[in-house]
Symmetry: C2
Subunit: 243 residues, 2 copies
């Protein structure tokens, strides 16, 4: 679940420096705090700007001096959350684990985090993957950060000869990111019920990518078995949903 304190701390540290009077923009804090609480309690749609304003102790029109749309409030919150999530991720990562494990671990951690609140995750994913014309997520930092981490894992893997020396790491990175997005989408389409299923799928996909098309056959039989099971579940679910 999402935390309140972090959001606020991040907001404060990030932008302002000298001008003391801008402490007034503690109002921004108040808005975000109220937003997090209400959004989590009643959902984004079900929270009106009027309510939100009152919860923050200000008038509705005042909000628009800080955020220009409701969506912007939501995204401001999400960005800070994601930044925080990364900082957690960093600590968890085991740089000496086999490459596949590192990659799957990274993806699962992020997946878990993003979907910890279903609605938030959905809105966020929509906005990130298919941004509106005006939406300028400041999260390009985050993107970069994420890519650097992924790239780091790949380079280390290459150093340890888990990857061919002449392998195109950028392409591979994109490739892996594609797998992550795919899993996220499957989750929201109801094909993946939980993170255990996601992990089975991701492991199969990553192995297929790194070790070739028939990788599963040459791997851990338990892994292969799990995937076979999951496959059946997929087919079943698709059928049920349609009839």
């Amino acid at each position: 679940m999402f935390r309140i304190s972090t959001v606020v701390d991040f907001a404060e540290k990030s932008c302002m420096a000298g001008i003391r009077e801008q402490k007034k923009s503690a109002t921004r804090k108040a808005i975000l705090i109220a937003a997090v609480r209400l959004f989590a309690e009643k959902g984004v749609e079900q929270t009106s700007m009027e309510e939100l304003a009152r919860a923050a102790g200000i008038g509705k029109a005042t909000i628009y001096g800080y955020f220009s749309t409701k969506k912007e409030i939501f995204l401001a919150y999400c960005e800070e959350e994601v930044a925080y999530a990364f900082s957690i991720l960093e600590r968890k990562q085991d740089e000496d684990a086999p490459l596949t494990e590192q990659l799957v671990g990274l993806m699962i951690a992020q997946l878990t985090y993003v979907t910890s609140n279903r609605e938030f995750g959905r809105l966020f994913a929509r906005e990130i993957m298919f941004p509106g014309e005006q939406t300028t997520l400041a999260s390009h930092d985050l993107d970069r950060h994420y890519m650097q981490r992924l790239m780091g894992a790949l380079s280390r893997g290459q150093g340890r000869s888990e990857l061919p020396a002449d392998c195109d790491l950028l392409l591979l990175m994109g490739h892996l990111h594609a797998l992550y997005l795919f899993s996220l989408s499957l989750f929201y389409q109801g094909d993946l019920a939980n993170m255990d299923e996601a992990e089975i799928l991701l492991r199969a996909l990553v192995m297929q990518t790194l070790n070739g098309l028939t990788a599963l056959l040459h791997a851990d039989t338990q892994e292969a078995e799990r995937w076979e099971e999951l496959k059946l579940i997929f087919l079943l679910r698709r059928h049920l949903k349609f009839e």
Copy 2:
């Protein structure tokens, strides 16, 4: 660009059969026709339900007897478009081309189609990949159809020994779909400026999937060169966007 006639024809053929009196639901037609025109002319957001109703020659409240939300109108339209697009795709496909070409061709065709109207494509993609709780796209038929076609191409490829006999086709299909989604997302994030770029990327990714991590090295040098160029463009764009 999107056509009007097809939408309507599809709508009519699909649902009704005996009951003549339901010809009254030509109103549905009228709504969709008006919607297509107005949505395309002024954009979805910029078209009000009032306008839409008037353009269809009815009162606003009447619309809600046919569609329960604005989004539903939009999606109804999209679904029919996509069904139509598939029927076109079918004719184009060359079952004897090399597998990579077939796959890339299929993806590019779909990509081209979906993005032929930027806004429509974005909204559609959002809804398909991260559907809301209540959104029940009837497009599971379409999904199935799409998957069957992909699977068909893969099976044929396997028959021709372009794929190992013991390769997991379902997993591979998911994998390929992931690459498609990734490209679509990159397009909307501004990393891909046009379909030529998309094709270079997709070809590189598909080759990496089918032929292994170092596939590009062993391939057509021209292909590899194009990808190297595109890589530079990516890095450049990401930088520019941030500063």
